[in-house]
Chain length 474, copies 2
């Protein structure tokens, strides 16, 4: 590829609707993923992975709306194939295909999915999904431990959150209680699902005669009668801040409905299991009004919101869906699972200022002042790494300290080490603190004083460097 | 999705040439990836990710053989797109596209790539690549620290290995030394590259008149004259077990060739940098005979082999390729990088018995004997998790202890906890050691005694359980 056979230059651009993830964002995502994964592993969930490409027939197995969004094509073997659009289809196939998987089978899967969708700012055609499922058990311990693990994960992010659970079965009891035809269940739940976003009055209008939305479009109603709507309203207004109280109120409202008691008892059983696992009561509530959009849920349903960032919606959610895998397995297969909204959590934490990420994973940049001492810089770096300090040596053109510190500052290295001829001869090192005030946990009382102290370069004995850094990085 | 609208069952199968990765293998892979990644992060390499789909024009930018293996199709926007077949094209595009990336830019990327290739046992059309690059520096410190990081990574796997390095420039000096036309360089290197697999005699035949291979096919030769071949042989037989000795021998052989001295000095500079970083001498040698197949290398080249598993070939390898990114960037861009062969390392470690992986990440299975005590089992599990012990509670149908222990044994949980009514009342727990002899590090002198002791269930005071387990898991 010398000058004479140089090829025409290709314009460098990512495919429309897709994006690259550069170090600063990758490091933040990796932190979130590692945190949640570690928690779910501590509950005994194990990783699996599946191919990006599947037979089109498999991807379209559920035959629903999603099919339209699937990237499909004919592969060189002349097979109709497509890129997976979720991780539920692959795990369904896997469970049906490998008959000797243990039961229960507890898996998690963190992989990209692809959807041909209208690209919006912040909405991409490839995104990561992080799904967790327990397959093959009807025990409510399975549902409860997913709730507990959600609690444990969110607790690690230092933000206020609330996990709300309910059950599709309770919603069915409510439908019965309101005297609504069972066939209307799906439509009623679809409307109830809008409660958080549209508010109670709009939901009531949509249950009844319909309404006109902000842009003047007519949204047709379900034509329920006022008594039915009043009963749904009673249900939606049940207390939802304390689990025992909600259970008591559910019994009071629905106690006479046939079959309701066993559905309430399930919610109560989960309550007991959560307390056994010492999940703080205030973190998980029963909220009868949640409906979860997807109509494949069959039992408990749940979702988590960040209390100071509600506009990001549900950051984790899931439920029991005992019939979905049937299409591959040929018979109902008990499944309870959750999805972790990695990108939503990231956006919300960034919005709340709780995600301090930097492009550089390294803790220290060793600047290079003296090109005759390269081996000495590398030697020092080796010693720092051996002590567990992530250390980058500046590999660009040596010399200008300003340029190197600018590099460190841009990349977000918290510390830089500066050693010139004098320091080498004196057995000393210069240590520069590059941390930004906004990234510090400490209270800054006198900003000027602090800044002066911070940007001031300490000179240390070489022997004191590692203990000092380890202490600063603690 | 009730009985009446049940859909036709779809046969569950992965696409031909693709595979699912189930927990036991995933856990092993994750271990390898985490180990190597941690090492490279300690050198200041940062993660990036790129989309699976790219414009076809970009993927085919290099116009080489690879293009034939790319999965391409027309997307719903009517654009010609394809699945990435390596991670070098994406990083080249990224470096050209984002002009404000820091220089040097040190990245690693761990993502799947897709190649339409003849599927063989153990060879798949989707596989993970793990690439590391330092972009934008000519400093040999960059090459040296990749070698050092390769050493640090491989050292963690507990196997004997050797990293060999050389340089494309030295090979050019050798071509000059042998009096071979520069235009033949690529062909000569292609033949030399076969040295490990075909042996010296076959290489010499292919440099000369050609040979007939085992299946009777004629392999044409390069028609070099005997003097030229003798000179190449001299070069290939240079000592390669001790860096200083190799440098001395290179000077003796090539010292008079124009330009060779500065090329030898580069290898020597790397030698010095490696010693500064305290890389054990025996782990990295200079081997003038390595050529590395890909013809885009322009400077140092290197590869690692496992000494007790040579048939797995190079498990990590790379080099400097300063001109490849030119196609996107419009100008030569300095790059030095390496690829980690995750699947090869995994296969080799499994072959050497050095990868003890299990399907279960959990350390302990809490079996469930008494269905009236479910909250007590969950409470215990919560306490174990709080102490940092990964704990799975058996979520299947409670009762049969045999079935539950079989589950643990199959999944590879090292320990099981058994508590029935009596133990609950006495404040005791039964602890069963399920580890297999082959997974134990200790020397077993009396297998029968050990087995008896091992399968024997200890009964402990409940208060002693956590300290005992933490000690056993250390």
């Amino acid at each position: 590829m010398s000058g004479k056979d140089k090829k025409k230059r290709v314009k460098p651009q990512a495919l429309k609707g897709f994006r690259d993830i550069l170090p600063e964002e990758m490091n933040a995502r990796e932190k979130i993923i590692a945190t949640v994964r570690q928690v779910f592993e501590s509950y005994g969930f194990n990783p699996i992975a599946s191919p990006a490409l599947e037979y089109k027939e498999i991807l379209c197995g559920y035959g629903d709306e999603a099919s339209k969004q699937i990237y499909t094509f004919t592969d060189p073997d002349d097979k109709e194939v497509g890129l997976r659009f979720d991780l539920t289809v692959p795990v369904s196939r896997i469970v049906a295909q490998y008959r000797d998987l243990p039961r229960p089978f507890k898996r998690y899967q963190i992989q990209s999915v692809w959807r041909y969708d209208k690209p919006d700012p912040g909405r991409f055609r490839e995104f990561i999904q992080f799904d967790i499922d327990t397959i093959g058990t009807k025990s409510l311990m399975a549902d409860s431990e997913i709730l507990a693990a959600m609690n444990d994960s969110l607790s690690k992010f230092g933000v206020k959150f609330r996990i709300r659970y309910s059950s599709r079965k309770i919603l069915s009891s409510m439908i019965k209680f309101a005297g609504i035809d069972e066939d209307l269940t799906k439509d009623v739940l679809r409307v109830i699902d809008k409660l958080d976003k549209q508010g109670l009055e709009n939901v009531k209008l949509e249950l009844g005669q319909g309404r006109t939305d902000d842009s003047g479009d007519k949204i047709p109603g379900l034509d329920l009668n006022p008594d039915q709507i009043a009963k749904i309203e009673q249900y939606l207004l049940l207390p939802n801040s304390e689990r025992k109280e909600t259970i008591f109120a559910l019994r009071a409202l629905l106690g006479d409905v046939e079959g309701a008691e066993s559905n309430i008892a399930e919610l109560e059983q989960i309550d007991q299991f959560l307390r056994a696992m010492k999940v703080p009561d205030e973190n998980i509530v029963i909220d009868p009004s949640i409906a979860r959009g997807l109509d494949y849920y069959t039992g408990p349903i749940y979702e988590a919101i960040l209390l100071d960032a509600p506009r990001f919606g549900s950051v984790m959610g899931g439920g029991r869906y005992d019939k979905l895998i049937e299409i591959f397995a040929g018979q109902p297969t008990l499944v309870v699972g959750a999805s972790i909204g990695v990108d939503r959590i990231l956006s919300a934490l960034q919005f709340l200022g709780k995600m301090k990420s930097r492009a550089a994973v390294a803790d220290v940049l060793v600047t290079v002042m003296d090109k005759n001492r390269l081996t000495d810089y590398l030697k020092l770096a080796g010693e720092l790494r051996a002590a567990g300090i992530k250390t980058e040596v500046f590999l660009g053109k040596e010399g200008s300290i300003g340029k190197q510190l600018k590099y460190a500052d841009k990349q977000g290295h918290p510390f830089a080490i500066i050693i010139g001829e004098d320091e080498f001869n004196a057995g000393e090192v210069g240590l520069k603190d590059l941390r930004k005030i906004e990234d510090m946990d400490e209270e800054i009382t006198d900003r000027d004083e602090w800044l002066k102290a911070r940007v001031g370069q300490q000179t240390l004995k070489r022997t004191a460097l590692i203990p000092t850094l380890l202490n600063l990085l603690k």
